[in-house]
Amino acid sequence: MSISTHPFRKYMRHHITRTTNCPGCGNGIIIQAILRSIEELEMEMDDFVFVSGIGCASWIPSPLFAADTLHTTHGRPIPFATGVKLSLPEKNVLVASGDGDLAAIGGNHLIHAARRNIDLTVILVNNGIYGMTGGQTAPTTPRGVATITSPYGSLEHAFDICPMVVAAGASYVARWTTYHPRQMTRSIKKAIQKKGFALVEAISQCPVQFGRAAKLGKAVDMLKYYKNNSIRIKKARGLDEEALKGKIVVGEFVNVEKAELTSELARLKEEVMEV
């Protein structure tokens, strides 16, 4: 029997032989999308610094990726990444974290990084629930879904993250589900190349917690659900709220060029530095 090595094994720390992901987790698809983006862009792992927070998605780069990786406190990867990027502007700084980390406890940092338009790439993995801690309601949990902390169904409205980040001023925002790995990869490539704040929201299945709570079944059933309920943003723009109920709007929400913070700081230094 011959043993073949996965083509992306070269991007991983040699001593790491397993991940912390549960069976059926969407993280694997997203890991592949990130690493395939890096390969297709013909970049090296040393061109990057990876920063993550706390939660299931924070295990995407750390300790797996053979690169500089910074695993931080809950909610704070974006400010840590901001400090890294400002002091190391020639590197690509990529944040991978979850919806609870980036949109609940870290929500303020997310909108301010978008406002600053600092050149970060943020992969926000949205599984709609707190997976690691046992399936509690997230700000992204759809209204009505019963979770361990909303046993009678969530009474709150869910965040619509992409339009929020667009409104805050990001240069690039896209959303795909784990049913769309090719489209997701294309968007991650664009996000890495974008000089400005770029966010890719990856709607991702958590069969262990969310699948059970929302009665969506196993991983494959959830992927089918994504397939059947995703709608392209261009098509969605012509529809009213009622028609969009329960739909996942996917595609590019914004892709613009605008003044970026590290470039502006470099310009400022040139102007005011005395020789």
Partner: protein
């Protein structure tokens, strides 16, 4: 004062907070993140103008949590960095002070203390954070804290704070108060060459952390800074010498807690500074920070009246100068501890000295107002009666 020179050599009449800002730049600080707060704002105000002139970066963060996280991130790129705030900001920073300790990150945190609790009185410089800077984050850990008594020391001890942070890979507090921060006084800034500046050790090579000691060295591990192909793994989770998370081996957990504490305590003689002016016959006034100025004035008044009054000023409050306090306690018969709060270090001082001398505490007559030397002298007279 705002030219692009890194070291503003000369004699200045300068506010303490400005002296701190100049000390940071003189020490080689290249990145500052901060959020406005009284009575510390002048530090970031000044650095926002000065840093770009010397090639540095200033970030006005959206809150103090963001400020300390950005500073830690910048430190991992190999640059010297700082954040400056006051009590409410320190409270917000506590979780990530713990991350800086756990990841052995060089970091300077300026705390220009104000009267608390809660919003308290922003412009009154009561040192209320003396214990919270050492014990406010969860878990067991050891930081360094230096207490300036004057604008001159706002410069000198800022430089020293950077040196200690770089040498020991640890958060170092400049534990000032609103009085030292807002006071204007003569500040001598030396020529650049005469400043003793320490830079951190950076790991010398290899692209595999499994073949390096990046953390938990018995002394101080060289830092595997980002951007140079070291492929460092940095985590606030319990980790081994390579930075790799380990939540299963009890001996790794033990080292994860103990080594960062021991590396500081092992070098306590290099870190701890006190200013001692006492003899065995004295009643000793033990202080730190701006209260030391009142203590010296009271000692002079006492000596003029023929009362033997000595002083011990803790320039380093953390690690706690236990041996120095024990030593004075065993030499003098009477000790009076002066703090401009309800006695935050008093229990620590008592623990070292109460076995050997009579020890009492005196706050100012009105909290937040500096001690009246006459009032200190009156208390001394009561004690020796």
């Amino acid at each position: 004062m705002s030219s692009g020179k890194k070291v503003m050599t000369g004699t200045h009449f300068m506010m303490g907070n400005f002296a701190c800002a100049e000390g940071a730049i003189a020490a080689g600080c290249e990145f500052v993140a901060g959020y406005p707060i009284t009575p510390a704002s002048e530090i970031v105000n000044q650095l926002a103008r000065r840093l770009p002139q010397v090639g540095g970066i200033f970030l006005q963060a959206e809150d103090e949590i963001s400020a300390i996280c950005a500073a830690i991130g910048a430190s991992w790129t190999g640059h010297k960095e700082m954040t400056a705030t006051s009590g409410p900001g320190i409270s917000l920073m506590q979780e990530n002070i713990g991350l800086a300790v756990a990841t052995e990150t060089p970091l300077v945190i300026v705390d220009v203390q104000r009267l608390g609790p809660s919003t308290g009185v922003p412009s009154i410089g009561s040192p209320g954070d003396v214990v919270q800077v050492a014990r406010g984050s969860h878990g067991d850990y050891q930081v360094i804290a230096l207490c300036p008594e004057s604008p001159q020391e706002m410069f000198d001890l800022t430089v020293r704070a950077f040196n200690l942070a770089e040498r020991y890979r640890v958060p170092v507090f400049l534990l000032a108060d609103g009085l030292a921060g807002h006071m204007r006084e003569r500040v001598e800034i030396p020529v650049a060459d005469s400043l003793d500046i320490i830079d951190r050790n950076v790991t010398t090579g290899g692209n595999d952390p499994m073949e390096r000691i990046d953390f938990l060295d018995e002394d101080v591990a060289p830092m595997p800074v980002f951007g140079r192909g070291f492929k460092a793994h940095v985590s606030g989770s319990c980790h081994d010498e390579h930075g790799m998370r380990n939540l299963s081996a009890p001996e790794v957990m033990h080292r994860y807690i103990s080594r960062p504490i021991d590396k500081i305590l092992k070098h306590r003689d290099d870190i701890i500074q006190v200013e001692a002016d006492y003899s065995p016959a004295d009643i000793a006034l033990v202080t730190y920070g701006t209260v030391s100025r009142s203590a010296r004035a009271a000692a002079q008044l006492g000596r003029a009246e023929g009362i033997n009054v000595g002083t011990l000023r803790m320039i380093t409050c953390w690690p706690f100068p236990d041996r120095e306090i024990r030593q004075i306690g065993e030499i003098v018969d009477l000790m009076l501890v002066l703090e401009n709060n309800r006695g935050q270090l008093y229990p620590y001082i008592k623990a070292e000295a109460a076995h050997a001398c009579q020890i009492e505490f005196l706050g100012p007559q009105i909290l937040g107002q500096i001690h009246d030397p006459e009032n200190i002298l009156a208390r001394i007279k009561e004690m020796i009666k």
